[in-house]
Amino acid sequence: MNLFNSVKFLGRAIPNVVVAANKGVTAQLQYFENFPLHEGATFVARSNGTLSVHAVNVFLSLSFNYPLVLVSRPNSGGQQTVQFGLYSLNGSTLSLANSASNSISFSNDSSWISMVTSATQNISPGPWYFALNLLSSQTSNLSMYANTSINAGNAVPGGFLMGRMTASTNGMPASIATSDLDITGSDATRQPYVIITA
C-alpha cells in the first residue's frame, strides 16, 4: 500500500507534502485535558495544603511532560507552590507513580502554572488519578480553576472517583487509602482543570 500521496489544495498540488495515512505508530496524544467543557467552571478557593484526587480516563498514550493548572491569587506577592501527583489505584490504595511541582511568584490575577515532572514517563491508556495540592505563603488561600460540582446529600457511591484529604499535607504521599478521603459534598468532589502536554 502506498502510504504517501501528494496533497492538493484547491486543485493544486502542494509540493513536499506527504500524507501519513497510516503511520503505523503507537497512537499518542499530544495533550490531554480532564474536562474539555468549561460550562460552570470557575476559580474556587482551596484550603492550604488540602490534597484532592480525581479519576480520569486517559484514552491513548500520553507523555507526562508538562502538567498545567490555572491558579489565581487574592493578593500580589508571595511564593505559591503547586504540587501534582499521578496515582494508580489498586484495590483501595492510591499509589504515587509520578509527580510534578513548581514554586513561583506570579503577578497576574490568574496564571497558567506549568510544573516540572520528577521523572519521564509515557502514561499508558486507562484510568489514572490526578492529585493536586496548593501551598501559599500568603495568609489568604489560592484559587484553582475547577469544574462545577453538584452538592449531593450522600457520599459518591461505588468505586472511588474523587475526594480530598481531611488533614493538610505539604507533599504528595507515596500512598493514600481511599477510605481516608472525604468523598461527600461539592468541596470534596470538585475537580481542578488539568492539562498535560507532551
Binding site: 492538493k8 507534502v17 508538562y66 490568574s110 502536554t197
Partner: protein
C-alpha cells in the same frame, strides 16, 4: 484497530458564540480521535450576520516537534444571512483515514473584510500569561489567503480567549 463512524471533539452541546473570525487569520485547534476515522465530512456550528459571504478553508495538520505540516484540506465558498447552524465541508484534497491520536485543524475564514462570521464552541479561559506547556492550539498573528504547507508553532499567538478557543467539530465518515 477499531474504526469510528464519527468523531466529536466535545462530549456535550456547547453553544457559546466565539469571537468574530478575523479575515485571513488562521487558527489551529486540536482534534484527537480515539480510534481511526475517515476524514470525509466536517461539520461546524457557525453564526453569520446579514449577507455573509466567505470562504472556509480547513487544513488537517500533524505536529512534529514544533512544526505543523499539512496532510489534507477542504474548502468551500459559502453565503449565509442571519444564520446560526451547521456548515458542512467535504471534498477533501485526498482520501485519508485518520489514525488515532492528536491532529490539528487549521481554520481559515476569508471574508474580504465585509462579513461577520463566527464559530460556535467552547471559549477558552483568559489568564494573564501565555500558555506555557506544549502546544495545544493558537492562531497566526499575520493574515494569510491560503493554508500554509507548514507552520512553526512558535510563531502562533497562544495567549487568551481569542487565540485559544475551540469550535465544535463534528467529523463523520
Amino acid at each position: 484497530m477499531a474504526q469510528l463512524d464519527f468523531h466529536v471533539n466535545f462530549p456535550g452541546i456547547v453553544s457559546e458564540t466565539l469571537a468574530v473570525a478575523s479575515n485571513g487569520t488562521l487558527s489551529f485547534v486540536p482534534m484527537s480521535p480515539s480510534d481511526s476515522v475517515s476524514f470525509n465530512k466536517l461539520n461546524f456550528y457557525m453564526s453569520a450576520g446579514s449577507n455573509a459571504t466567505f470562504t472556509l478553508s480547513i487544513g488537517l495538520y500533524s505536529l512534529t516537534g514544533s512544526t505543523l505540516s499539512i496532510t489534507n484540506s477542504m474548502s468551500r465558498s459559502i453565503t449565509l444571512s442571519n444564520f446560526r447552524g451547521y456548515v458542512s465541508l467535504s471534498a477533501t484534497s485526498v482520501a485519508q483515514n485518520i489514525t488515532p491520536g492528536t491532529w490539528w485543524l487549521g481554520l481559515l475564514v476569508s471574508t474580504g473584510g465585509n462579513s461577520s462570521v463566527a464559530f460556535v464552541g467552547q471559549s477558552f479561559v483568559n489568564p494573564g500569561n501565555a500558555f506555557p506547556g506544549g502546544f495545544i492550539g493558537g492562531r497566526m498573528t499575520d493574515s494569510t489567503n491560503a493554508l500554509p504547507a507548514s507552520y512553526a508553532t512558535s510563531n502562533l499567538d497562544v495567549t487568551g480567549t481569542d487565540a485559544m478557543s475551540v469550535p465544535t467539530i463534528i467529523l463523520t465518515a
